[in-house]
C-alpha cells in the first residue's frame, strides 16, 4: 500500500510481510535472547490458571499499575532526557501501593520500604507442596510451604521477599478472638520429631479479619538463592492468645483446597548486580 495516496500513506512505513518458518524461528530466538531467556518457557498451567491464580493476578495488577505510571511519565516527561526520570523508570514502588486496592487490603506489608524503588525485576513463586498437610505433632498444628528460588535469572540479587497467604473471614467459632500467626524457616528436618526452625515473622490478627497476610522472608530468600540445598521450606503455625495451637484451616488461612485466586505464594524483588552481556552467535 505504499504507493497509494491518502490514508494509506500514513501506514506506508509499516512492515507487512509474512515471515517464513525459518525466519520466524530465528526472530523468536533473537527476541528470547534479548529477554535473557535460553529457550521459550513452557509453563504447566492448570485450566483457567493463567488469569485466575493468585500470583499471576497479583503480578498483573503490578504490571498494569506500572504501565500506567510509565504512560504518565512518557506523556509528561518528554524533555527529561534519554532515560526519563530514574525514580519511575527503575522502580516498582508507586504502583506497588496501588495494587492493594484489587488484591484486598493488606493486614501487613512492606509497601513503605525503600527497597522497592531499587527493584528492576519482580518474581512470584508458586507453592510446590502438592497437598496441604496439616501436621499435628505434640499438640502442635502447622502447615508447610516450599518455593523454588533456584531458577532466578543470572545476575539478579534479592532485595526483598514476602510470603503472602490469604485469611478468610471466620465467624462461628472464634468470634472476637485474636490469633498469632508465625512463619518459620525450616533449618533441619528430623524423621519422627519436630524440625529445627527459625522464627521469621509473626502477625497478630482478629478472627474476623480478612485479606492478604504478608510476611517478610527477605533474609531467608537470599540464603536460599545462594544455598539452594538449604531450602527446606517454610512452616506456618497459628496460636490463640493463650498459646493454644490452632489448625490453620480453622483459623481461615487458605490452602491448596481453597480458591485459585487466594492461593499462598511468595513474591521477591530483585536488583541487577551486573550488566547482562549477550553472547555472539
Amino acid at each position: 500500500g505504499a504507493d497509494l495516496p491518502g490514508e494509506n500513506e500514513v501506514h506506508s512505513s509499516f512492515i507487512h510481510r509474512r515471515l517464513r518458518s525459518q525466519e520466524r524461528r530465528e526472530m523468536q530466538r533473537e527476541i528470547l535472547s534479548i529477554l535473557g531467556l535460553p529457550h521459550r518457557p513452557r509453563p504447566h498451567l492448570q485450566p483457567g490458571g493463567k488469569h485466575s491464580a493468585s500470583a499471576p493476578m497479583f503480578m498483573l495488577d503490578l504490571y498494569n499499575a506500572m504501565a500506567g505510571e510509565e504512560e504518565a511519565a512518557a506523556a509528561g516527561g518528554a524533555s527529561l532526557g534519554a532515560e526519563g526520570p530514574r525514580g519511575l523508570e527503575g522502580g516498582y514502588s508507586y504502583p506497588y501501593k496501588a495494587l492493594f486496592s484489587t488484591q484486598g487490603p493488606p493486614l501487613a506489608s512492606l509497601q513503605d520500604s525503600a527497597f522497592l524503588t531499587q527493584a528492576d525485576m519482580v518474581m512470584s513463586f508458586v507453592n510446590m507442596v502438592e497437598h496441604d498437610r496439616e501436621f499435628y505433632h505434640q499438640r502442635s498444628h502447622h502447615r508447610e510451604f516450599r518455593f523454588d528460588l533456584s531458577r532466578i535469572p543470572e545476575g539478579e540479587a534479592v532485595t526483598a521477599a514476602e510470603f503472602r497467604i490469604y485469611k478468610d473471614y471466620i465467624r462461628e467459632r472464634f468470634d472476637n478472638e485474636t490469633f498469632q500467626i508465625s512463619v518459620y524457616q525450616v533449618l533441619q528436618e528430623h524423621p519422627g520429631r519436630d524440625s529445627d526452625l527459625f522464627l521469621l515473622d509473626t502477625r497478630t490478627i482478629w478472627a474476623a479479619e480478612e485479606g492478604w497476610l504478608v510476611f517478610d522472608i527477605t533474609a531467608t530468600s537470599n540464603h536460599w538463592v545462594v544455598n539452594p540445598q538449604h531450602n527446606l521450606g517454610l512452616q506456618l503455625s497459628v496460636e490463640s492468645i493463650d498459646g493454644q495451637s490452632i489448625n490453620p484451616t480453622l483459623a481461615g488461612l487458605i490452602g491448596r483446597h481453597g480458591p485459585q485466586n487466594k492461593q499462598p505464594f511468595t513474591v521477591a524483588f530483585f536488583k541487577a548486580t551486573e550488566v547482562h552481556l549477550r553472547s555472539i552467535r
Binding site: M59, L60, A67, E70
Partner: protein, 139 residues
C-alpha cells in the same frame, strides 16, 4: 550553505513538483536530500503473532518504532542532531567519498515491562531498557 537552504524552501512550496523531481532524478544519482528526512516510523512487535501468548501474560506486543531517513544539511533546522553530526555533514560536503553523512538513529529510548511465566509457572515481571524509540536524530 545559503543556496542549499533556499533550494529546500522552494521545494517545500511545490510538493507535486518535488515528487516528480524525485522520481526523475533517481536515475541521475541526485543529491539525497530529496529523500525523506530522518524521523520515527511505526514498527509494532506482536508477541501474539509470534505465538507466545501461552507464556507472555502482558503485553500482547509493543510499539518499538524505528528511525529512518536522510540526514541532510541543514541538520539543525528540522531534527535532533548532535554537534558532531552537523560537523560531520559539513566535512561530508568537502570529502563525500571519505566521510559519510551522519546516521539517522534513536536519540531517546524507553523501557518496556514484560510479564511472563517461566517453566515452573512462576511469574516474572521484568523491565527491559532501551526497547522503544522515543525520538530519532542524526548522529
Amino acid at each position: 550553505s545559503a543556496g542549499g537552504k533556499q533550494r529546500n524552501q522552494n521545494r517545500s512550496k511545490t510538493p507535486k513538483n518535488q515528487e516528480a523531481f524525485r522520481v526523475s532524478n533517481l536515475g541521475e544519482n541526485s543529491s539525497s536530500d530529496q529523500r525523506q528526512a530522518c524521523k520515527k516510523h511505526e514498527l509494532y512487535v506482536s508477541f501474539r503473532d509470534l505465538g507466545w501468548q501461552d507464556w507472555i501474560i502482558a503485553p500482547e506486543g509493543y510499539a518499538a518504532y524505528y528511525c529512518e531517513g536522510e540526514c541532510a544539511f541543514p541538520l539543525n533546522s528540522y531534527m535532533n542532531a548532535t554537534n558532531h553530526a552537523i560537523v560531520q555533514t559539513l566535512v561530508h560536503f568537502i570529502n563525500p567519498n571519505t566521510v559519510p553523512k551522519p546516521c539517522c538513529a534513536p536519540t531517546q529510548l524507553h523501557a518496556i515491562s514484560v510479564l511472563y511465566f517461566d517453566d515452573s509457572s512462576n511469574v516474572i515481571l521484568k523491565k527491559y531498557r532501551n526497547m522503544v524509540v522515543r525520538a530519532c536524530g542524526c548522529h
